[in-house]
C-alpha cells in the first residue's frame, strides 16, 4: 500500500514513509488501513534517512541522497500571461493563439494582472518574502515550439523568495507518528509556457500546437532539503493541495498543469554533496517517487562500481521504469539572459506604500491579498481534528481525494452518527468502493444524504454493522433505492425482540449439547460456533454481540 518499493532492490530503512497510497488515479488516495490511534503529530525534524546499497561488497557504506525540485504550475487564469488569448485545456490545435503568442514581428507583451495576483497569493501562502520590485528577463534557446526564440521569465529578481513548505509524513513501525518536515522555497517566479511539439514518427515530422505558448506558469523552486522519493512526492502533493485551495492553479498532473523536474545527487554523510543530475518529464504523481528513488539507486550503484556521475539531464521512461539520458544536451547551454526591454519593472505595494489616489485597478496591494487568502489545507486539517476529533492521519486522507472532504461534511450534516463512525465509513468503505471501481468522488452513485440515512439506521441499531455493509453494496449497484427500502426488502432489520432471541438461543443450545459441553470446558472457539448457529437460525438478523451476551448468560446459569 504505502511502502515505497524500488524495483528489485531493498531500500533499507527509509524513514520517510508518507501516508499516501501511490496507486490512485486521481492524485493521491487515502491509505485505507489506519485503525491505530496514533499519537498526535510531533514536529521535529527526522534524521536523514540512510540508504544501504544493494550489495554491500565494500562493507557497510552509508549513502545519503539529496533531492531538489523545480515545479512548474500553470496559473488558472482566463487569459495568458502576456497576451489576451484564452487558456483552455484540450482546445483544437492552434485555436487559442494571439499575434504575440505566434511571435509576429512588432507585437509586444502586456502583463496579466490575475497572474501577478496568483503569484503573490502563492508566495504568501508559502511564507515567502514578496519582492515589491521584480524584473522580467529573456531566456534564449532555439526550439520549434518557442516561436520567439526566447522565453520571458524572472531570472534576476523574481516576485517571491525565501519561503517554506511544510508537509507531514507518517513514520514508525505502524505509521503511528506524524512528523512535519519543511522544505525551503528558494523562489517563485512568473514565466511563459512553451507550445507543444507532437512528434509524428510515421511521417518524420513534428507538429507544433501553440495553444499553450504564453500561458502563465509559476515556477516554484524547492531547495534540496528532501532525501528520497516519498518525501519529494509528499511535498509535491502538499503543494498541489495548497495551489488548489488558493485557486491559483488546478495543479492536475494528468492535464499537464503541474510539472516537476528533480535534481538528485548522493553523497556519504559528512562529505560534500555529489554531482547532481536533473530528471525531467516527471508528469505523473504515481511515478514521481519511483523515478526519484530509481535515480538515487542508479547513482549509488554507479559510484559503488567506481564510475562517475555525469552532470546531465535525464528523462524518466515510464514503460521501462528507469531514467535515461536525454539526447540533445551537449554541454552547458548558454541562455544569453538579458532584461526584457518591453516590460518595465513590476512594482507591488502594501497599504503603507500605496500612492495616494492610485487607481485600484492599476495597482496591487499585497496586504489586501493577504487578508483575502482562503483557508489553507493545514488549517482545514487542524479544524477537522478540533471539530470532529478525528485522527491526524485521517485528516490527511480526507483532504487527499478531490471532493472527499465535502462529501464527508455533507454526510456529517445529515446524520446523528458519531464523527468517528462517519470517518471510518467514508475512508474505509466508501473510498474503498471508489478505488475498486476507479471512480472519482463526484462519480459516486451513493450521495452523502443516502449514506447519512444508512448511518442513521445503523446508529439507531435498526440494522447490524454487517447488514449495513450489505445495504451499502446494494445501494452502489442499484440507484434510486433508499437504504430503508433495501432494508425492508431484504428483511435485514435487527431482531428487536430480546425474548424471542433468548428462546432461539435456548433452542440452539438444546439442539447442540456437544458444542455446549465444549464451551463449558473453556474452548474459546466453541462459543463462536454457537453464535454462528444462532445467526443462521435468525437469518443474520440478530446482533452478534447481543447473541453472545445472551448465550453467556444462559451458559452460566
Amino acid at each position: 500500500m504505502a511502502a515505497p518499493m524500488l524495483r528489485g532492490c531493498c531500500l533499507g530503512r527509509c524513514w520517510a514513509l508518507a501516508c499516501i497510497d501511490s496507486s490512485s488515479r486521481h492524485g493521491r488516495g487515502a491509505a485505507t488501513g489506519f485503525t491505530s490511534s496514533g499519537k498526535r503529530g510531533q514536529s521535529f525534524v527526522a534524521q536523514q534517512p540512510l540508504l544501504t546499497a544493494q550489495k554491500s561488497r565494500k562493507g557497510e557504506h552509508k549513502w545519503a541522497a539529496v533531492v531538489g525540485l523545480e515545479i512548474h504550475a500553470q496559473i488558472a487564469s482566463n487569459s495568458k500571461l502576456f497576451s489576451g488569448s484564452q487558456v483552455h485545456f484540450a482546445a483544437p490545435p492552434n485555436s487559442l493563439v494571439s499575434f504575440f503568442d505566434a511571435s509576429l514581428p512588432g507585437t509586444l507583451p502586456v502583463l496579466n494582472r490575475r497572474c501577478v495576483e496568483a503569484a503573490v497569493m502563492t508566495g504568501l501562502a508559502l511564507n515567502c518574502h514578496i519582492n515589491k520590485k521584480s524584473l522580467f528577463d529573456r531566456k534564449h534557446y532555439f526550439y520549434a515550439d518557442l516561436p520567439a526564440g526566447y522565453q520571458i521569465t524572472q531570472q534576476r529578481l523574481p516576485i517571491a523568495v525565501n519561503g517554506s513548505l511544510a508537509y507531514s509524513v507518517c513514520v514508525g513501525k505502524k505509521w503511528r507518528q506524524v512528523i512535519t518536515k519543511t522544505v525551503r522555497i528558494k523562489q517563485i517566479q512568473l514565466e511563459q509556457d512553451s507550445g507543444k511539439s507532437l512528434h509524428d514518427e510515421l511521417r518524420s515530422q513534428t507538429l507544433i500546437d501553440l495553444n499553450r505558448a504564453g500561458v502563465g506558469l509559476l515556477e516554484v523552486v524547492l531547495e534540496p532539503d528532501m532525501s528520497c522519493g516519498e518525501e519529494a512526492a509528499t511535498a509535491v502533493r502538499e503543494l498541489q493541495l495548497i495551489l488548489q485551495a488558493l485557486g491559483t492553479s488546478q495543479a492536475n498532473m494528468a492535464e499537464g498543469q503541474l510539472r516537476v523536474d528533480a535534481n538528485i545527487s548522493v553523497h556519504h554523510p559528512g562529505e560534500p554533496l555529489g554531482v547532481r543530475t536533473e530528471v525531467k518529464n516527471l508528469n505523473s504523481a504515481r511515478f514521481l517517487a519511483r523515478a526519484i528513488d530509481y535515480e538515487i539507486q542508479r547513482q549509488i550503484n554507479e559510484l559503488e562500481n567506481g564510475c562517475e556521475i555525469l552532470n546531465e539531464t535525464r528523462s524518466f521512461d515510464y514503460k521501462l521504469g528507469c531514467t535515461v539520458p536525454m539526447r540533445d544536451k551537449e554541454g552547458k547551454q548558454d541562455y544569453r539572459f538579458m532584461p526584457e526591454p518591453n516590460l518595465p519593472p513590476l512594482l507591488l505595494y502594501d497599504t503603507a506604500s500605496l500612492p495616494a489616489g492610485a487607481d485600484p485597478q492599476q495597482v496591487i496591494n499585497i496586504d489586501r491579498i493577504r487578508e483575502q487568502l482562503p483557508e489553507l489545507p493545514s488549517e482545514t486539517r487542524e479544524k477537522l481534528i478540533q471539530q470532529y476529533g478525528i485522527l491526524p492521519e485521517h485528516s490527511f486522507a480526507l483532504l487527499n481525494e478531490v471532493g472527499l472532504l465535502e462529501f464527508f461534511q455533507n454526510v456529517i450534516k445529515e446524520t446523528r452518527a458519531e464523527p468517528k463512525k462517519v470517518t471510518s465509513w467514508v475512508l474505509n468503505i466508501f473510498l474503498g468502493f471508489l478505488k475498486q471501481r476507479n471512480l472519482a468522488v463526484n462519480e459516486s452513485p451513493v450521495t452523502p444524504s443516502v449514506l447519512a440515512e444508512l448511518l442513521n439506521l445503523l446508529d439507531r441499531k435498526v440494522i447490524s454493522s454487517a447488514a449495513a455493509k450489505q445495504v451499502f453494496e446494494e445501494l452502489w449497484r442499484s440507484k434510486g433505492k433508499t437504504p430503508s427500502q433495501i432494508v425492508s426488502e431484504r428483511k435485514l432489520e435487527l431482531m428487536q425482540d430480546e425474548e424471542a432471541l433468548e428462546r432461539v438461543c435456548h433452542a440452539v443450545m438444546e439442539g447442540h449439547p456437544q458444542v455446549v459441553m465444549d464451551t463449558k470446558r473453556g474452548n474459546p472457539r466453541a462459543i463462536n460456533k454457537l453464535i454462528g448457529l444462532v445467526r443462521k437460525v435468525t437469518h443474520n438478523r440478530a446482533d452478534p454481540t447481543v447473541i453472545k451476551e445472551i448465550l453467556e448468560k444462559q451458559l452460566s446459569s
Partner: protein, 317 residues
C-alpha cells in the same frame, strides 16, 4: 498643390478647392514618375483610392475627421500594415502580410489619412544610408536638382548618368525621399540612433524624433527595443506637430508608453527668431563642438544665442 504644407492642403480640402480623390491621384502619378528614386517598396494604389473616396464622402457631408483627413501619407516598411506586405527591406519578410495595423498606423488611418504605400529603408533599419535594403538603395531627390546636375556636368568624367546620385541618409531614407519629392505630405519613419533625423537632414525636410515612451511602438518591428521610437517626417515643423498630436499618447498594447500627460500637445507659434535660444549638446568630440560654436551660422541674429548644453546622456553618444 503637392508642394504645399499639410495645413494648407487640409484647408484646401475643406474649402473644396481639391477633392481627396484628385489629391490622391496626383500623388500616385507623381510616385510613378519618380519611380527612379526607389523611395517606395509597395504602392498601395487600390487601398489609397478607396480611403480617398471614403474621405471625399466625409468632406461632402461636412464631417471631416480632422487635419489629416484625406491627406496622403507614407509609412516606412518596418511598420505592420494590415493586408499590405511588410518586408523591412529584407528577404526574411518578403511576402509577409501582417494581420494587424501598428498603433501609429491605426491612429493615422482613424484620422482619415490616405496611405500611399510602404517606403524603402535599410534592411531591418540597420544602417544610416538607406543603401542596404534588398530592394536597392534610395536616391536623394536633390540628386536631380538643377544645382546638383550642373555641378556634376562640370566635373563629368564620362561617368554613367545612373551612378550620379546622392544617398538619402537612413535608415528612413524612403520616407524622407517620399516627402521631399512631394509624393506625400507626411511620412512615418523610425528612429533608434538617428534614423529619422539623419535622412531628414540629407533630404532637406523636417525629421522629428519623439522621446521614448511618448509614441507607441506596437507594430514597429524592433531594432533596439529600448531605444526605438516612431519618427515623423514632414516638410515643415507645424506639420510635424500636427502629426505628433495624433500619434502621441498612452497605448495599452505597449507597456513602455507613459501615461497620458493631461494637457494636449500644443506647439507655440514663433514670430521672433532672435528671441530663440538653441542648445547644442556637448558631445565628447571636442573638434566638432568648437567648430559648430565658432563657425558661421548664416541666419540673422542667432550667432550669440547658441549655448552649450551638458547632460549625462551626452556621455553615451
Amino acid at each position: 498643390m503637392l508642394g504645399r504644407t499639410l495645413q494648407e492642403v487640409s484647408a484646401a480640402l475643406k474649402q473644396g478647392q481639391i477633392t481627396p480623390v484628385e489629391l490622391c491621384q496626383k500623388c500616385l502619378s507623381l510616385i510613378k514618375k519618380t519611380k527612379f528614386l526607389n523611395a517606395y517598396i509597395t504602392i498601395s494604389e487600390e487601398v489609397a483610392l478607396k480611403q480617398a473616396e471614403e474621405s471625399e464622402k466625409r468632406y461632402k457631408k461636412g464631417h471631416s475627421l480632422g487635419a489629416l483627413d484625406g491627406i496622403p501619407v507614407a509609412v516606412k516598411d518596418n511598420f505592420s500594415t494590415s493586408g499590405i506586405e511588410t518586408t523591412c527591406a529584407s528577404n526574411m519578410l518578403k511576402g509577409y502580410v501582417p494581420p494587424y495595423n501598428a498603433t501609429v498606423v491605426q491612429r493615422l488611418l482613424d484620422q482619415g489619412a490616405v496611405l500611399m504605400g510602404k517606403t524603402n529603408l535599410d534592411e531591418f533599419a540597420m544602417g544610416s544610408g538607406s543603401t542596404d535594403g534588398v530592394f536597392g538603395p534610395v536616391k536623394n531627390p536633390w540628386s536631380y536638382s538643377k544645382q546638383y546636375r550642373e555641378k556634376r556636368k562640370q566635373k563629368s568624367h564620362g561617368e554613367n548618368e545612373d551612378s550620379n546620385w546622392l544617398i538619402t541618409g537612413g535608415s528612413s531614407g524612403g520616407s524622407a525621399a517620399a516627402v521631399s519629392a512631394f509624393t506625400c505630405f507626411a511620412a512615418l519613419g523610425s528612429d533608434t540612433g538617428g534614423s529619422t533625423r539623419n535622412p531628414a537632414a540629407h533630404c532637406g525636410i523636417v525629421g522629428f524624433k519623439p522621446s521614448y515612451g511618448l509614441v507607441s511602438r506596437h507594430g514597429l518591428i524592433p531594432l533596439v527595443n529600448s531605444m526605438d521610437v516612431p519618427g515623423i517626417l514632414t516638410r515643415c515643423v507645424d506639420d510635424a506637430a500636427t502629426v505628433l498630436g495624433v500619434l502621441a499618447g498612452h497605448d495599452p498594447k505597449d507597456s513602455t508608453t507613459i501615461q497620458d500627460p493631461g494637457k494636449p500637445f500644443m506647439l507655440s507659434s514663433l514670430t521672433d527668431v532672435s528671441k530663440l535660444c538653441i542648445g547644442i549638446p556637448k558631445v565628447s568630440l571636442p573638434f566638432h563642438f568648437t567648430e559648430i560654436l565658432s563657425g558661421q551660422i548664416q541666419s540673422p541674429g542667432l550667432g550669440n544665442r547658441l549655448v552649450g548644453v551638458e547632460s549625462c546622456l551626452c556621455h553615451f553618444c
